[in-house]
Symmetry: C2
Subunit: 290 residues, 2 copies
């Protein structure tokens, strides 16, 4: 049965896109209020992993059942179930992080608005700002973001985009955030040491003056925003030997560092000063005078 809300009285229904954030209890107070009020709650967990997130915890918190949707529901069937429901009732779709980082969801939003279903977004934390926040690097110096994907040796396709993005960012002195692919459905994920190896391999294949080698300054981040967050900063060869624990992971290769950013890396993560100093010289040689 539909609740008689202001929205229903207006004859309009809302489809809410609600971010679950990056940690177990990352939902906002506003999101919680909406989730208790809407008629149906859908949830997808295939675009990313939220460590320790449990569906029953959320169902208990809300005092209601949640309908889990998978890639097929959203991408092949175009979220038709959600759209049909949203035509006659208030509906929420929960997604990891801040909504619309995955392109799938924006297609659903466009289709909803085409069908005269009003939409609203309830934001939450995202790895994109949290990665910088958590390791003390300035988000204002973030360059283009890029994902390193799980290699497909059978396909023989070995992309070098992550390396090219890094190089472009460094030429402008900017930090590069690498997201490491997770296939939540099959439980596959790229580890930090493996991603570093892939970056080194890309560097070698391009065959220019080396940017990614044993002495490159790297920040490795695991489970950012959770109580078990683990961050390490040091040379690439140091980071290759670290056991980061379970995913999700990300990496930052810094550009030009402000003295306070250098202090953050040495004080918060015991990064060695000589690694920073070596990297400072390397970045100088890559910088383009624009």
């Amino acid at each position: 049965m539909l609740k008689i809300s202001r929205l229903v009285l207006n004859g309009d229904h809302l489809l809410y896109f609600i971010g679950l954030g990056i940690s177990e209890k990352g939902l906002s107070i506003e999101a919680l209020e909406i989730l208790r009020r809407v008629d149906t709650v859908f949830l997808e967990l295939y675009t990313s992993i939220i460590p320790d997130f449990k569906l029953d915890w959320l169902e208990n918190m809300l005092g209601r059942k949640i309908r889990v949707v998978d890639r097929e529901d959203l991408e092949e069937r175009g979220g038709e179930d959600i759209l049909r429901e949203a035509k006659v009732a208030d509906v929420a779709l929960l997604t990891p992080g801040d909504p619309f980082i995955a392109t799938t969801h924006i297609v659903l939003r466009i289709e909803a608005e085409r069908r005269n279903i009003k939409t609203r977004i309830i934001h939450s934390s995202s790895i994109i700002t949290a990665a910088f926040s958590s390791c003390g690097l300035q988000v204002y110096k973030m360059g283009r973001i890029v994902t390193i994907t799980i290699p497909e040796p059978k396909v023989g396709y070995r992309p070098i985009t992550p390396y090219l993005v890094l190089k472009e960012n460094l030429e402008r002195g900017l930090h590069t955030l690498f997201l490491l692919e997770i296939r939540a459905e099959s439980g596959e994920f790229l580890t930090i040491p493996k991603a570093l190896e892939l970056l080194e391999d890309m560097d070698r294949r391009v065959g220019e003056e080396s940017i990614v080698d044993d002495n490159t300054l790297v920040v490795g981040l695991a489970r950012v925003g959770t109580p078990n967050e683990y961050i390490a900063a040091g040379s690439l060869s140091e980071l290759k030997d670290i056991e980061f624990g379970p995913p999700p992971y990300s990496l930052i290769i810094p550009g030009v560092l402000h003295p306070i950013e250098e202090e953050a890396l040495t004080t918060l993560f015991d990064c060695k000063l000589e690694v920073i100093e070596g990297w400072r010289e390397r970045v100088k040689s890559v910088l383009k005078n624009t």
Copy 2:
């Protein structure tokens, strides 16, 4: 009196940096739990504005008093009160958005860790991802972020950095997010029309082939993430005539648009196709072959 918590029993205290997010009830469930448990809660609201956020609402929610700190406390006195308290008790500092977007707070975190006070960050929504999320543009195509500051005619200093950042981003086909300065203490803020005027003026002063003029495609965003969010997409001349209501504001000038991003702008915000088409040609001429 101190509560006997696990942390106190270990002899360690924690200083939590907690993000308030970008809307009235943007705090996460985890943040709420921590705020109810710690010994003292500090809050600063001078680095940004959260529309409709009310201190008494939060105090009622938490069932406790909050100590408001200002710029002087944090920047001139280096947050000494907070650090002293955190040495003997569990303390939280609340800040707008996701913590550490403002550089002040990272200095405080470094100093805390130097004094052997452990720190933890509780993330929340940030305008940086929310701006892209809310208007349907891909965050993966975000270039460097830049703030447009309130002009100081007496000083005679008219920075052109925002224009230069835009140009660099466009040469790579990337979107540029401009944050518009707010001085929360004095209530001064830069409006979207004024910011557009400043960008046009910068463009003229640089005197190269024009990027910012009446036909530039612009997305103007006001109060992102709140129930009164207002977003408009169109030509610069169209946006100059729009009344966006109260702050905070931001602007995006898109780079190369994916067809789905174009659809988002036309479907969600009635952006005219000819404005998008004109801009597409202009961006092509700025793109550098890298």
